[in-house]
């Protein structure tokens, strides 16, 4: 790997790879890039892999998707199935469904490619979601990374769009009912809904245009946008350099980790093959979306227990939770002679709208409340930002309640409970779940902080029980080494910032609101132990004199 040293000229490279690199460099001049990146340092942590999983799933989606386009025909013209799956022989269906069946049964390896594609898509959205949770709970979205957080949010929306457009393409019964639901939701939009529905479907539902149109979006527009966003995302990762977890030797001014070449590149590159291998294993062993069981789309039948792909679940669940009629109040009513369908409009748009609005604006909200305009490159341990962690878990709980509601019928049949009761409970949880989650999470985070504080003050429990001369039993605590100690105490615990006057000497109402939020954000806090406190804790605890020698090593 003499590549990095090609920057210095004139010289003769020692290895073949080096000479080749030199050849390319003399013609296109990439040595500056190599010098910058060849040994660039990346911090290492298992939780940094979720973003990589997303990236690699996307690469696998591009590869398997390209294969599928060679055989898929998005036409909705009528045809009669003549392929080798006998249960559907001679059944009338669209050309799109016909070609999806052919890919599954008559193209060698086609079923495998379909399964790889679908599993990779599910994993893509899942890993994006988990990656964003990691970024949120560790505070990685703080300055200077707010814009990259927004790009990530856009990627999440695009991923869901890619998923839904792809899910609808085979034109099977299940995906057709999914489109039917989308059509119903679009029609509920005031004033323009009917028009949008007619434009999208090229006339009445289902029409003969929708599959072809979704196909263009699915294979051209959406992936191109995803690719563009990924490029922007990674570009910004390079500009900012990666964040790192707190620990000894790590601060906002440095980045500690492995150099890109060779060890980090090997680990990350090897990880691509591992992701691919795991997806291949799932595609080999677990059937996903067996379209041949569902049959071609027909507006009349529907199977019980219909489920969307998991990432659309929270919207579907919200649709299920919303009551259409409460006592005698109908959520659909006539206003100025026109129909307003709030029982569809509210659940379809409001929860998703709230989730994404909060997601996109959260970095600025927190920055406003905390007045923290510094750059952050060291992550927070979630427990050390209890209010943020509680907000995140509350939002996540809200999402999960809606997501669970999308399976309300399956919950009812599996656990032999009344479907109506499941819905009533989930409706209640929709409102109180996030509140409970917030309170519990905040208390857990504070308790963990207190535990850290106790350990940093009194050392770790050794499990050794000692009987003192006067008969008392105590457990001996051993002090931590300075590196572990620093991990527990090396964090900031900001105090609430009271309202401050502006340049005219006036405390504005907005500033007062900010101060109130700041108090709410920071009033419950556990300060890290200071050296003086540790000193004091050791001198008052006379029983610890047993561990006298170890104690001395700590009071440096």
């Amino acid at each position: 790997m003499s590549a990095a040293s090609t920057a210095e000229a004139p010289f003769v490279a020692k290895t073949k790879v080096g000479r080749f690199t030199d050849f390319v460099d003399e013609r296109v001049g990439g040595s500056g890039i190599l010098r910058e990146f060849g040994r660039k340092v990346f911090p290492d942590h298992w939780s940094f892999m979720f973003g990589e999983v997303a990236l690699y799933s996307f690469v696998i989606l591009l590869m398997s998707g390209t294969f599928l386009t060679f055989f898929f025909d998005p036409s909705m013209a009528e045809t009669h199935y003549q392929g080798s799956y006998t249960p559907l022989y001679n059944v009338e269906m669209s050309v799109a469904y016909n070609s999806s069946l052919n890919i599954s049964f008559d193209v060698r390896g086609g079923l495998f490619m379909r399964q790889v594609h679908h599993w990779a898509a599910l994993l893509f959205v899942a890993s994006l979601g988990v990656h964003m949770l990691r970024v949120f709970f560790t505070g990685a979205f703080r300055k200077p990374r707010e814009m990259n957080w927004v790009v990530g949010g856009v990627l999440l929306i695009l991923a869901m769009a890619a998923g839904f457009t792809g899910y609808s393409l085979p034109d099977d019964l299940l995906s057709g009912n999914g489109l039917r639901i989308i059509d119903g939701v679009i029609k509920s939009i005031p004033v323009v809904g009917t028009y949008i529905s007619f434009f999208l479907f090229g006339g009445e539902f289902p029409g003969t245009a929708i599959i072809g149109r979704l196909y263009v979006l699915h294979i051209l527009l959406v992936p191109a946008l995803i690719l563009l966003m990924i490029v922007i995302h990674l570009f910004m990762v390079v500009v900012h350099k990666h964040t790192q977890y707190p620990g000894p030797g790590r601060n906002d001014g440095n980045v500690v980790g492995y150099p890109l070449g060779p060890v980090y590149a090997a680990k990350a590159g090897g990880f691509f093959f591992i992701v691919f291998g795991v997806i291949a294993l799932m595609a080999a062993a677990f059937t996903i979306n067996p379209i041949w069981n569902y049959g071609p789309y027909d507006p009349s039948p529907v199977s019980a227990g219909t489920q969307p792909d998991w990432y659309i679940g929270f919207v579907d669940g919200a649709l299920r939770l919303m009551p259409g009629v409460v006592n005698d109040f109908h959520f659909e009513y006539v206003i100025f002679g026109q129909t307003l369908t709030l029982n569809v409009l509210l659940p379809a748009l409001v929860p998703a709208g709230i989730i994404f609005t909060v997601l996109f604006t959260y970095p600025w909200i927190e920055r406003w409340i905390t007045k923290d305009n510094r750059e952050h490159h060291v992550l927070d341990r979630p427990r050390n930002a209890p209010t943020r962690t509680a907000i995140g878990v509350a939002g996540f709980t809200w999402y999960c309640v809606m997501w669970a509601a999308a399976g309300s019928d399956l919950i009812a049949t599996h656990f032999m409970v009344s479907l109506n009761d499941v819905t009533y409970w989930l409706r209640a949880l929709f409102f109180v779940g996030p509140i409970i989650a917030f309170v519990v999470t905040k208390r857990v985070a504070l308790a963990l902080q207190r535990k850290d504080r106790e350990i940093s003050l009194h050392g770790r429990e050794t499990g050794r029980i000692v009987r003192l001369p006067h008969g008392e039993f105590i457990e001996v605590h051993a002090p931590l080494d300075e590196y572990k100690q620093y991990k527990l105490v090396g964090f900031e615990s900001p105090a609430p910032i009271p309202a401050q006057p502006n340049e005219h000497g006036v405390v504005t109402r907005k500033e007062k609101r900010r101060a109130a939020l700041s108090k709410w954000f920071f009033e419950d806090r556990v300060a890290p132990a200071t050296p003086a406190e540790v000193e004091a804790a050791h001198s008052h605890g006379h029983h610890e004199a047993i561990e006298g020698t170890e104690q001395k090593s700590l009071s440096h």
């Binding site: 004033v191 659909e332 569809v344």
Partner: protein, 356 residues
């Protein structure tokens, strides 16, 4: 937890120690000392790791061979069964999985066990320098100045106007993505054609249904006569016209005034398209006379003219007025008296027009 044998109150530290300065903080001890791996000190261990990596790469080669074997040896001929396809899928998948996991785990093991694992520290640099910033601001100022856009508001304003209007053709073009809705959603195939009433026929084969075939407690999935003969827009019509036909004890039906002649001997027909977002309301609970939509669990009570009793739907299922023709077959006496399916902005307007 703390063991305070003297019973003194535990200082939980929940109270802020305001203004922590650097003296009160622990100093960063720096990176912990590097710990050597077994492979760094023991050449035997390094050799072993090398062999393990090679074996993993070997597994990958075996995986590729499994894939190729499964691809060429298993033929998807005319007489291939589902079992053949499933086996081939399994072997292709396992082959790929071995091929990929072999390479992946091999490289990662190589990196972790044999490549240098010294963590290094690199300085972060400011995203921009103050010098760059000032130069950039100057450049932007100069560019704006050279265009003269501030001094020539006429140019600026006409440009803004032109740019604002330019997307209009695009919107106009998109307006032709589909036809205007007009009142297409207000009508279905059930409307009598040339004075001839449409028979209720079975879905999907299209055979007509005699009133005497419909016993109490039975349910039929119904399409209008002539649907199967359509070629253009068959699914569009079906998506509006599908109906559920059921017979109940006539005494259990609560009939509102004006609908007395919409049913026949306890036989009632309701639109199968849910008034929520349009899924087929395909589940009929015979005992309770409830219709349930499997998509979002809207529940309709058949005895109360399909009033919503649970779930997200807000409007009853539209009823199809039916009667019996001279040959004893069930027919629709008219189209639905309201638009079927999910609600839309112009729905009430359409309903009023139908009934006027």
């Amino acid at each position: 937890m703390g063991n305070h044998s003297d019973g003194s109150p535990n200082h939980s530290g929940t109270v802020a120690t305001a203004g922590q300065n650097d003296v009160e903080k622990f100093q960063d001890p720096g990176l912990p000392p590097h710990r050597l791996r077994l492979a760094d000190t023991d050449p035997k261990a390094a050799k072993r790791a090398e062999r393990q990596v090679a074996i993993l790469f070997g597994v990958s080669i075996v995986g590729t061979l499994i894939f190729l074997g499964a691809y060429f040896a298993i033929d998807l001929g005319v007489d291939s069964t589902i079992a053949t396809i499933r086996n081939q899928n399994l072997l292709l998948g396992l082959g790929t999985a071995f091929a990929m996991l072999g390479i992946g785990t091999g490289i990662v093991h190589w990196a972790k066990a044999l490549m240098p694992d010294h963590e290094v520290s690199e300085e972060r640099h400011a995203i921009r320098t103050e010098e760059d910033r000032q130069a950039a601001v100057r450049i932007v100022d100069d560019i704006v100045e050279e265009t003269g856009i501030k001094r020539r508001p006429l140019i600026r304003n006409t440009l803004l106007g032109a740019v604002a209007l330019a997307p209009l053709p695009a919107i106009a073009v998109f307006g032709d993505l589909g036809p205007r809705p007009d009142d297409k959603l207000a009508h279905t195939m059930w409307a009598p054609k040339d004075g001839k009433l449409k028979r209720l026929t079975r879905d999907p084969d299209g055979t007509p249904i005699k009133a005497s075939d419909v016993t109490i407690g039975s349910a039929f999935h119904v399409i209008p006569e002539g649907l199967n003969e359509l070629h253009e827009g068959k699914l569009n019509e079906k998506a509006k016209a599908v109906v559920l036909l059921m017979r109940l004890n006539p005494d259990s039906l609560k009939i509102t005034p004006g609908r007395e002649d919409w049913s026949y001997n306890g036989i009632v027909a309701y639109s199968k398209i849910c008034t929520h977002v349009g899924c087929p309301v395909a589940l009929y609970e015979q005992q309770t006379h409830h219709l349930l939509c499997p998509c979002h669990q809207s529940t309709f009570d058949l005895t109360q003219e399909c009033k919503v009793i649970f779930g997200p739907a807000s409007r009853p299922l539209p009823q199809l007025p039916i009667a019996v023709d001279a040959e004893g077959y069930l027919v629709a006496t008219s189209d639905f008296k309201e638009p079927v399916g999910p609600s839309y902005w112009e729905r009430d307007e359409h309903e009023r027009r139908i009934n006027s």
